[in-house]
């Protein structure tokens, strides 16, 4: 199985084929970077694009991410021993009072798929827990999610508490009701309106 076949297997949600393909490429001596970036991350980038364009939806993104993860599991032992280092750590969670996790999960999967370490704090996370996690993991980016207009104030509070803590972490906010204007107003470092653009934003902020 070639790189292109693994890529295609991610897009068709074929977990078994992805895992077998990755193993075959490893056995054939293909560079780990190529398998990771061209087959797995490349495919998930396409999935993200299709989602943004309304050609794929949440269930399809979840399936593609699962297929990609099946490949990552096979790669993992080699990732640790090779020079394919993590690109940095991202903390993510849904803010206090909000139980919605679908958007947050998609963003987490996409960011992880892009090669970052992701610490998923889950839902209903208060500001102090975010501060503690950022500090513990020396995270470069903190992603805050909210689906409800009613929990957007908790997002504002979390950004304020992070700023006050003095931690050198960039904050990104997102979620259906969140707008770029709101992000500017609460002093977040970034805003994204979907998972693929969140990945791009993380890449950009980690590079600064």
């Amino acid at each position: 199985m070639a790189i292109e076949d693994i890529f295609e297997a991610v897009l068709t949600f074929n977990k078994v084929a992805v895992a077998e393909g990755v193993k075959a490429e490893l056995d054939a001596g293909t560079e780990i970077d190529s398998i990771l970036n061209e087959a797995l991350i490349g495919a998930l980038d396409v999935v993200g694009k299709k989602f943004s364009e309304g050609e794929m939806f949440v269930p399809e993104m979840l399936q593609a991410a699962k297929a990609m993860k099946a490949g990552l599991e096979v790669l993992k032992p080699y990732l640790r021993s090779e020079s394919v280092a993590s690109k940095g750590t991202v903390i993510i969670g849904t803010v206090k009072g909000d139980q919605h996790d679908i958007g947050k999960n998609l963003v987490a999967m996409m960011i992880e798929g892009a090669g970052f370490e992701v610490v998923d704090m889950g839902v209903n996370v208060d500001a102090d827990r975010f501060v503690k996690a950022v500090s513990e993991h020396n995270a470069g980016v903190l992603c805050l999610s909210a689906l409800l207009t009613t929990t957007m104030p908790a997002m504002e509070n979390a950004v304020a508490v992070i700023k006050k803590s003095g931690l050198a972490v960039k904050t990104i906010i997102g979620g259906a009701p969140v707008t770029v204007t709101f992000a500017d107003q609460v002093g977040a470092d970034g805003y994204s309106d979907d998972a693929p653009s969140a990945v791009e934003l993380v890449r950009k902020l980690m590079a600064t």
Binding site: D101, T149, M152, A176, F182
Partner: protein
């Protein structure tokens, strides 16, 4: 015209004396008028008092209740672990469906919990006080959206490929329970069922999945509630025209369509929707509750509101509304600016 006459005329696409004013106002008024936020959402007399005070001040053309119902009372009645904080909406702490065997337990649930009865009593108090002059609308959720509450959104979305039978079976179990809740609401005095279909919107699932998994249970619930005497008003975000969902909804006994625009990228054009539905059903407007209304200045709110009203331009079957929940943090002066603009507006 009183509010009931005005709203019913608009729903029947008949002339009205002014634009019907029916925003999703519950969260801010619980903040403005509630003894506490929780009490105004959930507790019979406190709920009625807050809505009546709001009605006096804002002259809405409906009373809109039910955020506590869909956010906490229904999930709790169906075995979720729910907390009811004092100052925010209820929070589902733990979901309740892990496998098919849990569905049998859910199917036997008694939805008439104490909290449900208190809520229904609040509706009854409002019904008595309003004397039929103002209709009562209640938020309500579809079997699919309830399923995501009970099992978890992520899990249901994954089940659509991994275990579609569970999605079908869970909804089949929820249909009679949802109808039972709807029947109780109607008997308590609810006139309009605001049928929230948040999780099956075309921002999240494909049109194919909607048709395959959601359309049938939706039709069963909508048609039965309509038969029981309610006006059923489905609400959904995203491009419901392109996804073909408007066509599917029009196959059911709906009395109006309430498009949402919770994400900025997917504001549905009202004129386009009107062209699609013609004279078959009324349309609720979709002013963004998270735009100027939440974070702008009153004059910006007035401008945006006026733009929506002008765009509607004498459209038959037009009802002013917001595209979804208004935040409890909506500045009162902004809410007042929106309300004033609607009440004073006259189409040229």
């Amino acid at each position: 015209m009183n509010a009931t006459e005005r709203m019913n005329a608009a729903i029947n696409l008949k002339p009205v004396d002014r634009v019907p004013n029916a925003p999703f106002y519950e969260a801010p008024i619980c903040t403005y008028f509630g003894s506490t936020f929780r009490a105004a959402l959930l507790e019979d007399q406190a709920m009625a008092d807050a809505h009546l005070a709001a009605l006096d001040e804002f002259r809405f053309d409906w009373v809109m209740v039910g955020m506590g119902l869909i956010g906490g009372i229904i999930p709790e009645a169906l075995d979720c672990e729910v907390s009811f904080p004092e100052d925010v909406f209820p929070v589902i702490e733990k979901t309740t469906v892990e496998s098919m065997k849990d569905v049998e337990r859910i199917a036997k649930a008694d939805v008439h919990t104490d909290r449900m009865e208190r809520f229904l009593k609040g509706v009854s108090i409002l019904k008595k006080e309003l004397k039929g002059e103002v209709p009562i609308a209640c938020e309500y959720i579809s079997p699919f959206t309830i399923a995501t509450r009970l099992r978890g959104t992520n899990e249901i979305m994954a089940d659509m490929y991994d275990n579609p039978e569970l999605v079908h079976t869970l909804q089949d179990a929820l249909v009679p329970l949802d109808i039972e809740i709807g029947r109780a609401l109607i008997e308590a005095g609810v006139d309009y069922i605001f049928y929230g279909a948040d999780m099956e919107c075309p921002l999240l699932i494909s049109p194919n999945h909607y048709r395959e998994l959601v359309h049938e249970p939706t039709a069963k619930v909508v048609n039965e509630l309509s038969r029981l005497g309610a006006r059923v008003l489905p609400h959904m975000c995203g491009d419901i025209i392109k996804a073909g969902i408007v066509d599917m909804l029009l196959e059911t006994d709906i009395s109006g369509i309430m498009p949402g625009n919770l994400t900025q990228a997917s504001v549905l054009d009202l004129r386009e929707l009107k062209e699609k539905v013609g004279d078959r059903t009324c349309i609720f407007d979709n002013i963004n509750p998270n735009g100027p209304l939440l974070i702008g200045k009153p004059e910006e709110v007035a401008t945006e509101t006026r733009a929506h009203l002008e765009k509607a331009g004498g459209m038959s079957g037009y009802i002013f509304s917001t595209s979804g929940t208004t935040s409890p943090n909506t500045p009162r002066e902004n809410f007042e600016a929106m309300n004033r603009e609607v009440l004073n507006f006259q189409w040229a």
